[in-house]
Amino acid sequence: MPKVRERGSTHVYKVNKISKEEVDSMVARCIYEEPPFCNAACPLKLDTRAMLKAAAAGDFKKALQLYEKATPFPLVLSAGCEAPCEAKCRLCERGEGLAIRAVEQAVARFGGPPRAGSVFRTKKKKTVAVIGSGLFALFLAGELEKKAYPTTVFCEQADAEGFLRAAAGFLDEAAFALELERLKKKDLQFVFGCKATAAFLEETRPAFDVVCVSEDVFTELFPEAAVAPELMFCEGETLVTGSGSGVMSAAHNAKKAALTVDRLAQNLDPANMRGQEDPFQSRLYTDLSEATDLTRVPAAGELYTREEAVREAGRCIQCHCEECMKSCAYLQHYKKYPGLLGREIYNNTQIIMGDHQLNKPMNACTLCGQCTVVCPNGFDMAHICASSRRNMVSTDKMPLAPHEFALMDMMFSNGEAFLARPQPGFTQCRYLFFPGCQAVAIAPETVKAAYQDLCSRLEGGVALMLGCCGAICDWAGRYEMQESTREFLLNELAKLGNPAIIAGCPTCRKELTESVGGEITGIWDILDKIGLPEGARGLDRPVALHDACGARGDAHTQEVIRRLAEKLGITLAETEDSGDRSPCCGYGGLTAYANPEVADEITQKALERSDAPFLSYCMACRDRFARQGRESRHLLELIYGTDAGAPPDISEKRYNRLTLKKELLWELWHEETAEMKLDYELHYTDEARQLMDSRMILTDDVIAVMNAYRENGEAILESETGLAVACLRIGNATFWVKFTEDGPDSYTVHRAYSHRMNVVRREG
C-alpha cells in the first residue's frame, strides 16, 4: 500500500520564532477590552458606558434594556443603590463625576412600561422555590425568572403588592405602581399566606430541585447553621440563602445566589466557575484631555426630567483606550485594536494548511514602534509582526512577492552598486562613512558633498562604503539573508581595517549597531562636534521636523538634530507627535512595497501634522513626503547646499546608485568602469514611465526584454493598437513590453506589465 505522507506540524512548532507565551503576555498588555471604571466598580456589572450612551442619544428604551440586564427591578435598584460607580467615574479627577444613579432613575422611569417575557421562551426543567420575602427574596426571584427556572415564591403576605411592599416600601407611589406591574408580568408562581416553619420547609422541599430562603426565615429556622458568604449557600442544610443590608448588597447577593442555584441545578460544585463577581480595579486608560463638561446637570425637581437625564448622560466621555489607534494609520486601516490584530497575526503563522488571511496586515505594519511609545502599557506591534514574519519565513510559508523587489534592490545595493574604498592616499582609515542605500539612491550629490567634507575635515582618513545595512532583509523577516549580509559587511569592514563607522541614516545606525556591533556614530554627531561647513543655511520659513523611527527612544540623536537645525537658523514649527511619538513616513517595515495603499495612508497621516515644509534626517522619509507632493528636505541637503529635487522613480534610484559609484571611482580613485551602452535607442512615453514605477518594473527589465526581442525577433503585433508586444522571463517574473519600432534601431516603450506565474505551451 502506498504511504500517505502528511505534512507534519512538529516542524512548525520547532522553528517558532515567537512563542505562544510571549504572544499571550504581549496581547495582555492591550487594555482595549478592559471595562470602564464605573462598570468594574459595579457589583452587578452594569454596562454603564453603553447605558449612558443610549441615554445620551435619547434612546431610553435601549438604555432600560441594558439596565435590566443588570437587575430585574430597575426602579427598586435605582432608588436605593449606593452607586459605587459614581466615585470611580474618571471625571471626578477633573470636576464633578457623572450622576449615574440619577440617570438610572430616569432610565427606569422613562424606558417604557414593563414588558412580559416572550411566551416562546423555553423553560428549564429543574424547579426552584423561594421562601420568604424582603429585598433579597425579591431580587432572587427576579434573577431566577431571568434564568428561565420555573420558580415558585412562598411568602407570608396576602398578595403581590404586599410582597413588593415588604421589600421596597421606600418607593414613591408612581414607582411602586410601575414596579408592581413589572413584578406581576414576571413568569413567577406565587403562593401567598405561607408561614415559613420547619415543618412547612420539610413539606415543600421534596417538590423542588433547589430551595432558597430569605435571611430572616433562615436565621429563625437554623440559628446555628453557617452560610458561605461567597456562595450564599448553606451546605449542611442544602439551602440557598442570603441577606443584604441595603438594596445594592441584596441585589448583589441575589445575583450570587442565583448563580449558586444554577450550579446546583446542574449538579455542579457551586464554588467553581463563578467568574468575576465582585468589583475590581480596571486597568483601562482614559485620556482626560478632551473632558470639558465637568459640572453636573442640576435637577430642577427632586428627580431628573427626561431632558436633564439626556444632558447629564451626554457628559459621559465613554472611556476607551484607543491611544495607539489615534496615532497609527495602519491600525486605523485595519480597524482592529492591537491586542486582537496581534493575536490574529500570530495565529496566522500557526496555520499549517489553509489560507493565511492575515499575511497582508502582517506585512503592512511599518515596524516603527510608535504604538509602543503611545500605549500606556507599551504594546509592541512591531515585535509581533516582525517575529511573525520571521516565523513565516522559517516555515517556508512567507510569500516572496510582497518583498521580492525590495530584496532584489538590496542585493543590487550590496552587489553591482556596492563600493568600499579607503580615502585616497590612505591604506587604513580611522573612520568609514556609511550613507545608507536610500541616501545614495535619492540624493547622490548630497552624499558626495558629505563624503568630501568628512574627508577634508576629519583626521585619520575616512573610508567610504556604499551599500545596504541589512534593514531590508531584517524587515522582510529573511533572517538567513540578514546573517549573510552581516558576514558580508563584517568582511568588507575587516578589509578596510575595521574603521569607526559614521552612519548617515538613523536606521542604518540602529541596524549596524545590532549586526556588526561597536560604537556607531551618526553623521549628525560629527557635524555637531566639528561644526557645520561653510555655506550651510536653513530655509527662510518655518519647517516641521519629522523624527525618524530609527531614532525613536534615542533622545541624544533627537537633541543633536534640533541643535543642528538651530545652528542652521531653522525655525521649527510646532508639530504634534514629534520626538519618540513620531509616526512612520510609510517606508519602514517595507510597507511601501508590500502594501502601497496602507503606506500612502501612513504618509498622509504623518503629513497631516503640519502644513509647513518637512525636514527629516532619514532619506526615506524625505522621499515619501516628496512623493506626496509636499516640500520635503533632508537635513544634509541644507547643510551641504544641495537639492535632490523631485523624487526619483525606482529605475532612477538604481541609476543614481550606479552613477555615484562610477563618478566617485573616477574622480577619487581614478578607476574607470566599463560602461554598458545600448546599441539602439530606447524611448519611454510618460505613461510607460508611470506604469513601470507603480508596477515595480525597472528600465533594466525592459532593456532585457528588448535585447531578447532584438536577438530572437519573437513578438506579437496587436492590430488594434499597432503595438508590438515582446516578453522575457527574468527571475521569478515574466515581463511584457508593448512598444513601437520608430525606425531602424529605435523603439518607444508604451506600456509594460508583468506576472509571476510562468506560462508554457501545453501539448495534447
Binding site: 519573437e714 508554457v760 505551451r761
Partner: protein, 73 residues
Amino acid sequence: MAIDRTYYSIDPEGKLQCMKCRVPLVKGKAKFLYLGNGFPVELPVCPVCGFVYVPEELALGKVLSVEKALEDK
C-alpha cells in the same frame, strides 16, 4: 484553486499576429505554473513557433488574483 478554462479562453480572432512567423495567432493550449501548481488554459498561441501570449488585462486581473491566493496558501 481551479481556473475556469472558459474564462481564460481568449480567441485572438485574427487581431494578433506573430511577428516572427508572420501568421495570425490561434486559440491554443497552454499552462500556467506557480508555486508547484499548474493550470491548463487556452490562450492565443502562434501555430508555428508556439509563442504564448498573455494579454495585459489577464496578467493584471485573474492571473494576479490567482497568484495572490496561492501565495497566501
